[in-house]
Symmetry: C2
Subunit: 251 residues, 2 copies
């Protein structure tokens, strides 16, 4: 169900962002049009809901209902932030905690809910998932500037073209030279696609990616801490590996 919800949100995201490439292939909106992407996304959402109802676990339904609602809220919030160069780290983190981390949190929490874990385990796994998802999204936003297009499978600079004030840009605005900040401000506010080369140079020269990487790593440390009290099993080992992968990945 989490996978179906995720796929549905990707279909709609790619319409909203007018993205052309995902996982190294044409997006559905390019291949089949916006109409099909919107409607098939709705279909997947409603099928996921139907599967949840059929499964009949009230606690699991509550977790997923809260998650889908906050994800949608995060997406709307992100849209409202587009072309706004005054978005700071705190507002950025709120958006990604909702739009991305909530689904990680729900997936991790559901492991405890469906496996019959107690409240403490549920809370620990939920916290782990939330930090993991936050780290994942910070790295995702970094890859728009630092990645290799073939490896990432998405078109670089797409976030900038949409006017999304992502973390590397926020760090340029806060820490770089006035000239670098001015370029980034103009790119967020209006000319993202055209100014991508200049913004890329500013992001790389200013140390913004290193700062963003450090914040992602701190999220991962918090994720690890959240499950620190769990017994040492191969399952815990896998969760710790996920966390490490989230900040080391290049795609």
């Amino acid at each position: 169900m989490v996978e179906i919800i995720h796929t549905a949100t990707l279909l709609h995201d790619d319409v909203v962002d007018e993205s052309e490439l995902r996982r190294g292939r044409q997006t559905a909106n390019v291949a089949f049009g916006n109409a099909a992407s919107v409607l098939v996304g709705d279909f997947l959402h409603s099928r996921a809901f139907q599967m949840m109802v059929a499964a009949g676990n009230p606690a699991a339904m509550r977790v997923l209902a809260e998650a889908t609602s906050l994800i949608a809220e995060g997406e709307v919030l992100q849209l409202a932030h587009c072309h706004d160069s005054n978005v700071d780290e705190e507002r950025y983190l709120q958006v990604i905690r909702y739009k991305t981390a909530k689904l990680f949190e729900a997936a991790a929490r559901l492991g405890a809910v469906l496996g019959g874990g107690d409240d403490a385990l549920e809370s620990a796994l939920g916290t782990y998932g939330g930090y993991l998802g936050t780290a994942f999204q910070i790295v995702d936003d970094m890859l728009d500037f630092s990645g290799d297009e073939t490896e990432v499978g998405k078109r670089l600079g797409d976030d900038l073209a949409e006017g999304k004030p992502t973390l590397p840009l926020i760090y340029v605005l806060r820490h770089a030279t006035p000239e670098q900040a001015a370029v980034v401000r103009q790119a967020i506010e209006q000319d993202g696609r055209a100014l991508f080369p200049e913004v890329l140079a500013a992001v790389r020269a200013s140390g913004a990616l290193q700062r963003a990487q450090r914040l992602a790593e701190r999220q991962v440390e918090s994720a690890k801490e959240a499950i620190g009290a769990l017994p040492d099993t191969k399952y815990k080992e896998a969760l710790l590996e996920f966390a490490l992968f989230a900040v080391q990945r290049t795609y």
Copy 2:
């Protein structure tokens, strides 16, 4: 919840159909853009789901889960039918039973579910809602040709421009002169917006609207029959009035 789901589907429908006018006002996609319409539609869907889960009535959830799933299926089916002049009455009816009538059916059925009615009442009301919704949509599709734009609040000819093979057109193809049929076929397949005046003339001259009206009235008769065994109360009276209104409305 039914109203929220309905509003969410309208937001997405207007994006998919590129509609500019609804209820006599600019559509949300025109006023705020496609991105906002898609995301706010998702938000409303997820909030409705969250409210359903919070209400915690498994039977009601099943009704709404099935309905939203079939509505989405109907929308996808309708998209697949666009520009297809071979769609016949049966396939047309399947689409509108899913995309429109299922929500009427769910709303009517929920009255019995939440009011503690027995299975027979639930079934009777569900059947009533299904026929009512089918009649409603047939009339809706007629109004694209027969209505007054100010009164209808939607731009006339929008369905045709989208290449939707609606019932009046199916009747022209089946019953009108070869010349009238040829115009309608070309309009469905490619030039809906440009050929609207000619198609309008063919629809009006061929008796297609009268045939469609008769099918809508037969749906309403079936709706009335479905609740025939219910005790005579002011509530039943109101349901019968809804049914009458569905086929007499001009907006």
